[in-house]
Symmetry: none
Subunit: 417 residues, 2 copies
């Protein structure tokens, strides 16, 4: 079975909202093993919607519509589909009752156009809407399935999960399970990663392996199909072993992990405390680390020393050091990390200094960043970056690299991951 998702709504074509429904439905269909070959977005216009339906009928067995089931004149999805399929709309008594109850409950007068929401396609299976008024529909006709869902994600998502998905699963279920794992890499480019696993990407059929790059990170999605969960997990484990053998040193986590959550986990699991002194990132490192619940046992705090004066007065960095090596230097980063570690009495100290851009800073070009990490009594470790992005991309990249650097150093020192 292959599917096309048609979102109906002029607000999508005007750029007022993003088509998050297509993403949600696609993710759900992928779990069922149903291929999605196209998404289409069309406005609230009968002729263009009919055109979109005709195109979809040439290339999909399952056509899922989102939007256009509401009470206003703009909402014309079901009317258009009924005409196109040569069928009619009928009142759904359960939906009508719910709509009337809703208005009674809200103490509001029901306008006539609300009745329109209780109309459904003749002979369809109703998908109950527990979070809104317009019911969804599933209609089989001419060897195709037409599914109509409401536009608001708060109504569509639970309706799909609890009403539509089981009906689809029953139709596609040949007993097979689809399982995906996402492997997360940092510090290796997409092209470089791909070269190293090229033969796996090309020759693997089950599991399949697909790369994706975003925001300085690369992921590999490993997807297996099998007749039991255990079998699917085994297939994935085999492919994962081979991938790790080749590029394991760049992998930092799986599935919902992020560099920040992984850092938080290592810190918390190993009872380590941390403090940071930030210049160009101005609190972004600490703020991203604080996104993780439970971090208050590890993140004690830190300082933002945005100016040279603040570095001297708040951290006690000597004017000599700043004079001799500059603000954007490994020496300054190390001093920041050591001083903040001492000041806050933590196990780990972080120092971040650099020129975010657009201007250079203290004779260093924009994009130059020094990161220092001091762990316990160990020798301070530094990392230099030459970033080429805009100011805020550079600040974010510097923070990501800091997390990756901490994970690497702690792992090397034997802390459990």
């Amino acid at each position: 079975m292959n599917a096309e998702i048609i979102a109906v709504g002029s607000e999508l074509l005007l750029g007022q909202i993003t088509n998050t429904n297509a993403r949600f439905i696609s993710g759900q269909l992928s779990e069922l093993g149903i291929n999605v070959y196209y998404h289409t977005v069309v406005g609230d216009n009968v002729d263009r919607l009919v055109n979109a339906i005709k195109v979809a009928e040439t290339r999909a067995d399952l056509i899922i519509f989102s939007g256009g089931l509401g009470p206003t004149k703009d909402d014309l999805t079901k009317e258009t589909i009924a005409r196109h399929l040569g069928t009619v709309l009928e009142i759904d008594n359960y939906a009508m009752q719910s709509i009337e109850e809703f208005f009674t409950l809200q103490n509001r007068i029901m306008t006539d156009n609300n009745r329109k929401q209780a109309l459904i396609l003749k002979d369809c299976e109703v998908l109950i809407n527990r979070h809104g008024m317009a019911p969804g529909m599933l209609l089989e006709k001419n060897n195709r399935i037409y599914m109509l869902l409401p536009g608001p994600p708060k109504e569509l998502e639970p309706m799909f999960q609890f009403e539509a998905k089981p009906k689809l699963a029953a139709r596609v279920n040949d007993g097979a399970q689809i399982v995906s794992h996402v492997l997360r890499f940092y510090g290796i480019g997409e092209a470089e990663l791909e070269v190293k696993v090229q033969d796996l990407l090309e020759n693997q059929i089950n599991p399949t392996i697909a790369p994706l790059a975003s925001d300085g990170e690369v992921t590999l999605r490993v997807t297996a199909k099998a007749y039991s969960l255990e079998q699917a997990e085994q297939l994935i484990a085999g492919a994962k072993d081979e991938i790790l053998r080749r590029v394991g040193q760049f992998m930092y986590g799986e599935n919902d992990d992020s560099l920040s959550s992984k850092t938080a986990k290592i810190l918390i699991d190993n009872n380590l405390t941390i403090a940071a002194a930030e210049s160009l990132t101005a609190g972004l490192f600490q703020s991203e680390l604080a996104e993780n619940p439970g971090i208050s046992q590890s993140l004690i705090g830190g300082v933002v020393t945005y100016t040279e004066q603040a570095k001297r007065e708040q951290l006690g960095i000597s004017a000599d050091l700043l004079e001799n090596y500059g603000i954007v230097s490994s020496q300054c980063a190390v001093a920041m990390a050591s001083k903040v570690k001492e000041k806050f009495g933590t196990d780990i100290g972080i120092g971040l200094t650099g020129a975010a851009g657009p201007e250079g800073h203290d004779n260093q070009p924009a994009g130059t960043v020094w990161i220092a990490v001091v762990i316990g009594d160990n020798e301070p470790q530094t990392y230099q970056l030459h970033l080429t992005g805009q100011r805020n991309t550079n600040r974010l990249r510097a923070v990501k690299r800091t997390f990756a650097f901490i994970i690497q150093l702690l792992t090397e020192q034997g802390y459990r991951k």
Copy 2:
């Protein structure tokens, strides 16, 4: 001229990412008065991409592609379009040079597949990529415009705005100018705002007025069409006056302003310095303020005092105060603001304390936040929030409200906006 946007990428059809590019491009085209009738998403598959192109050619004059210009084998947009249009790809020397420079600068080895990114369609106009390696393209053929843009939004958005949009504007210009101003509001809900300007929304034809809510802010987009820029601006000014008469007290800025950029502007323009002490936001306030170039003359720095101990030791807040009033209290917020102002010797001090969630903190429920602002020798001002979102939404909302509060207090004290 009417347009169709084709996003190419299997990750979209698998539900791994959302098609935000289509939304961005649609918004931009709407400003040019170009109608968008369809969005299509298709995977990294030659046959299905050709099918999507053929369908688009039956219904659009301008076909904009996003994605599939990268270095890997999956990236096949330009190759497929070249074959479909019976043309070839050539090396773009400027792009090739940039790619080589990028690898030299990063001290990384350039793999062969990266060269692929420098290939462009013969006879196209090149759209320079200032934030990545793959150039964009614009090709006119058979009375149609084919535009190819890279997939990553950080590359696509500036390329569209600064390279592609002027070229399209020159082509659609019938002498009419479309001008839009976005008015930005904070502290008023969308429904409440809409009620106050309902008649304007309904009756205005030129300019049109459209509301949009996102992330605690509401905007009104005022769009005029006229045969001169001056005339368009006049039409907008008239509507704006009437809007401000009704809800002016909630407007904080226009167009690309953000609460953070507006705060930075007021601080810089009035030569004011600022420092912050942050608990639940853990540096997010300072980091967001630091997003604005030129802020180093105002933002001196600050402290993150995530733990109670850090509040005592780093800021010298008395154990008595913390004992008597609690960590999540107006007294603690005021002490944080006053102490950090003194410590950093600034004109303004900010204190942020609260319970981000998911757990409550120090007997206060999750979502309780206290903001304190101390300006010069004035009485400290506080603001309490009861937020209901998740941890990181709450942290972001607290920071936004802090910016709005600073803007309000400085404006009330006569600092120029």
